[in-house]
């Protein structure tokens, strides 16, 4: 009996060692990437969030990448608070627990993280530089280092409008859109007089102020002035464009064109989709949902009107507002870059755009490739994307962007004047020095 037991134990030990050995070998072969995805407005569409995670586009894309790269495991982490994700990434980088790849906002948001991001300048092939737009938004102005890849979505800002309401008011934005703010005011007054809410947005976070208000600002002041304001070379209080733009922005609220509960509500888009609102300052992510709710024929896009005396006219805010960055700490930089390049490849971007019909960052994808019918909103977005000025709020220095976002709603509410707002931004610049 003892002999039998000894043999069984010996066999078990040998088998165990073999299994452990095999396991270790497998573990050595397997490479793991961790990726943060912005849960608000990037690769996960609102409609997708109602489905199980394995049905999301991003989960399917990860699966395709894993299949194409045996032995690679990609772990998806959804960052619900995109704004906080930048600081979270920083904290994780310090704690040595940063993800390999993160989907973050572009511009100053990532420039502030330059010390913990992988400089991929030498790793980006010329073909990608030629075929993908938005490299300026991910290239550090200080060092010239490329810090990430623009994501698939080339965003465009505009006024989303309900064609039925506009037509009911005797207006025709398709053929005779308001080109100036005077014309825009006149149109909003007509809409208001007809009993409709002309504009709506959840302005507790200044979306309108960033999508359109910032366009009015940059169109009057231009970028060099805004940057020199941020640097302290010039002052925000002396920036007439800033005052002009955000005074007009405030007037939309004072005149009752913007919804009276703009600063406290969270359902403006729902109201638009229910046909209760004529227009919404928006960006390209929501067109599909608006069309699904109101019918594509009832949804239109309007370029922002220009303020009198604007230096730049006929344009709007946009560009790749998001990117993929790679952590300096990653153990697999080449693999991480491979994943990012896979996400930005033509085939994969086409897959993404089937789920979320947006404007691609790849220049070799045309509206025709995507099946966007001529005259459709999607085709119009592609057309509009050629006339964008890069996101102003993404370009503001971190020292001022915090108060820019926090205090702009106060300007709208009349809690502070535009001059006081500008003075506070100057104080922020001075304090940062």
């Amino acid at each position: 009996m003892k002999k039998v037991l000894s043999i069984v134990l010996a066999v078990a030990m040998v088998l165990g060692l073999c299994l452990v050995g095999t396991g270790c070998a497998k573990k050595e072969e397997e490479k793991k990437l961790t990726i943060w995805i912005n849960g608000n407005d990037s690769y996960i569409a609102p409609a997708e969030q109602e489905k199980s995670q394995d049905q999301w586009y991003i989960s399917q894309a990860i699966k395709r990448f894993e299949e194409a790269n045996p032995g690679v495991k990609v772990e998806l982490i959804v960052q619900a608070d995109t704004e906080a994700a930048h600081q979270q990434f920083k904290a994780d980088a310090l704690a040595n627990t940063a993800p390999d790849i993160a989907n973050l906002w572009t511009g100053q948001n990532i420039y502030a993280l330059e010390d913990v991001l992988l400089d991929i300048t030498s790793m980006v092939p010329q073909s990608d530089k030629d075929n993908i737009s938005g490299w300026d938004a991910v290239t550090s102005p200080k060092t010239g280092a490329i810090l990430g890849y623009p994501t698939a979505d080339n965003q465009v800002c505009y006024f989303l409008y309900n064609r039925q309401i506009i037509n009911d008011c005797g207006l025709d934005f398709d053929n005779n859109p308001p080109k100036t703010t005077e014309e825009f005011d006149a149109a909003m007054q007509i809409i208001k007089d007809k009993g409709y809410q002309p504009l709506a947005q959840d302005e507790g976070f200044p979306w309108f102020g960033c999508y359109i208000g910032a366009y009015w600002w940059v169109s009057c002041s231009t970028y060099p002035t805004i940057i020199s304001d941020c640097e302290g070379t010039t002052k925000f209080v002396d920036d007439e464009g800033l005052k002009k733009a955000y005074s007009y922005y405030k007037s939309t609220f004072d005149n009752g064109y913007l919804n009276a509960d703009a600063l406290t509500c969270a359902d403006s888009f729902n109201k638009f989709c229910q046909g209760k609102v004529a227009m919404m300052p928006q960006e390209s992510s929501v067109v599909q949902d608006a069309e699904a709710a109101l019918g594509a024929e009832n949804v239109g896009l309007l370029m922002p009107p220009d303020l009198p005396g604007s230096v730049i006219t006929g344009k709007t805010i946009g560009g790749p507002g998001q990117c993929f960055v790679i952590s300096k700490q990653t153990k697999n930089p080449e693999l991480a870059l491979k994943f990012v390049q896979f996400m930005d490849s033509k085939d994969e971007m086409l897959n993404f755009l089937k789920v979320q019909p947006k404007v691609p960052t790849r220049k070799d994808i045309t509206a025709a490739d995507l099946g966007y019918a001529a005259g459709s909103n999607q085709a119009k977005l592609v057309e509009m994307s050629a006339n964008t000025i890069y996101w102003v709020d993404n370009s503001l220095y971190p020292s001022v962007s915090g108060d820019f976002y926090a205090l702009l709603p106060s300007v709208l509410a009349g809690k502070m004047t535009v001059e006081e707002f500008a003075a506070q931004l100057d104080t922020d610049v001075a304090n940062a020095k």
Partner: protein, 304 residues
């Protein structure tokens, strides 16, 4: 104290017991020091730097404190915090009354006990959104006011500090009554039922029983409830504010703890500045707690 020190008066057996007791406490103490004291020390040191969360970590002296107090921001935040403290007496008094009613087994007391505790099991974020909807410009409250002909009272409640803070006080009180009730009820279970019976026989009414019998007998429990409620109001209202107003418009409804999050993680990278606000918050909580303990000791001496 004798020359022999704190243990000098103890017998060898007592000394051995005391050592064992200290050894038993030691692991928990070490964990506490590690997870509480160490971060507090680090935050204190960082509050004198321009730490941005990464590598900027230069000593800036009292600059962060000067900015906090000099800009007027601190007083704005502190005023909001103090305003929200109004919920503490409300929740404790209402909690006490409800606890006595439950203790006296009013009809349906078991159901009431569960109902009063329900808000406690709902996430504060969800409650925040519910209250945001309820007090919205087109929300149910304003609809009721309008239909009652009180159009002038139907305002955007969360738009102004003057109306938003009372709404928050109401929300916090509503949320906390259940917790207060359960804790006070637990304390009341130590009161001999014969005391109540005697009071009833002597003709004491409900209010007399509540404030002249129950209250003096559970002073220490009430102290605990007040201290915890104050600390909670200063340090844990974040999810409610996040979902109701996001501290806005501007900084109108922001509190000190929310400001710390705002500066450190939400908008900007002023972690050194946020650390200075954290130190100030810690000091405020310590001072208020010390004052409350003093008052409680005096009350216990008088009634206890």
């Amino acid at each position: 104290m004798s020359k022999k020190g704190a243990f000098g008066a103890l017998s060898p057996q007592e000394l051995k017991k005391a050592k064992i007791a200290y050894l038993c406490v030691l692991p928990a103490l070490l964990v506490l020091v590690l997870v509480r004291a160490y971060p507090i020390i680090v935050v204190f040191l960082k509050s004198f730097t321009n730490w941005d969360g990464l590598f900027a970590n230069d000593f800036v002296g009292l600059d962060n404190y000067k900015l906090l107090f000099g800009s007027g921001m601190f007083w704005n935040l502190f005023r909001n915090n103090m305003y929200l403290l109004l919920s503490v007496p409300l929740q404790v008094i209402i909690g006490l009354i409800v606890a006595v009613l439950l203790y006296e087994h009013v009809p349906g007391w078991k159901a009431f006990r569960a109902i009063y505790y329900v808000p406690q099991i709902i996430s504060l974020v969800i409650l925040g959104y519910l209250f945001k909807t309820m007090f919205g410009l087109e929300g149910p409250l304003n609809q009721v006011l309008r239909s009652a002909g009180l159009e002038n009272l139907a305002v955007d409640w969360l738009l102004n500090r003057e109306t938003a803070l009372p709404v928050m006080v109401f929300c916090v009180t509503w949320y906390s009554i259940g917790w207060q009730t359960i804790v006070i009820l637990g304390g009341m279970s130590s009161i001999d039922t014969s005391v109540f019976e005697a009071a009833r026989l002597d003709g004491a009414n409900f209010w007399q029983r509540t404030f002249k019998i129950v209250l003096p007998m559970i002073v220490s429990i009430i102290t605990y409830c007040v201290v915890m409620a104050v600390i909670w109001t200063f340090t844990s209202l974040f999810p409610l504010i996040y979902s109701m107003t996001d501290g806005g418009p501007g900084f109108e409804t922001m509190t000190l703890d929310y400001f710390i999050y705002n500066k450190a993680f939400q908008r900007g990278n002023q972690l050194g500045y946020a650390c200075s606000a954290s130190v100030v918050l810690l000091i405020i909580v310590l001072i208020i707690t010390a004052i409350e303990m003093r008052i409680s000791d005096a009350a216990e001496e008088k009634w206890g």
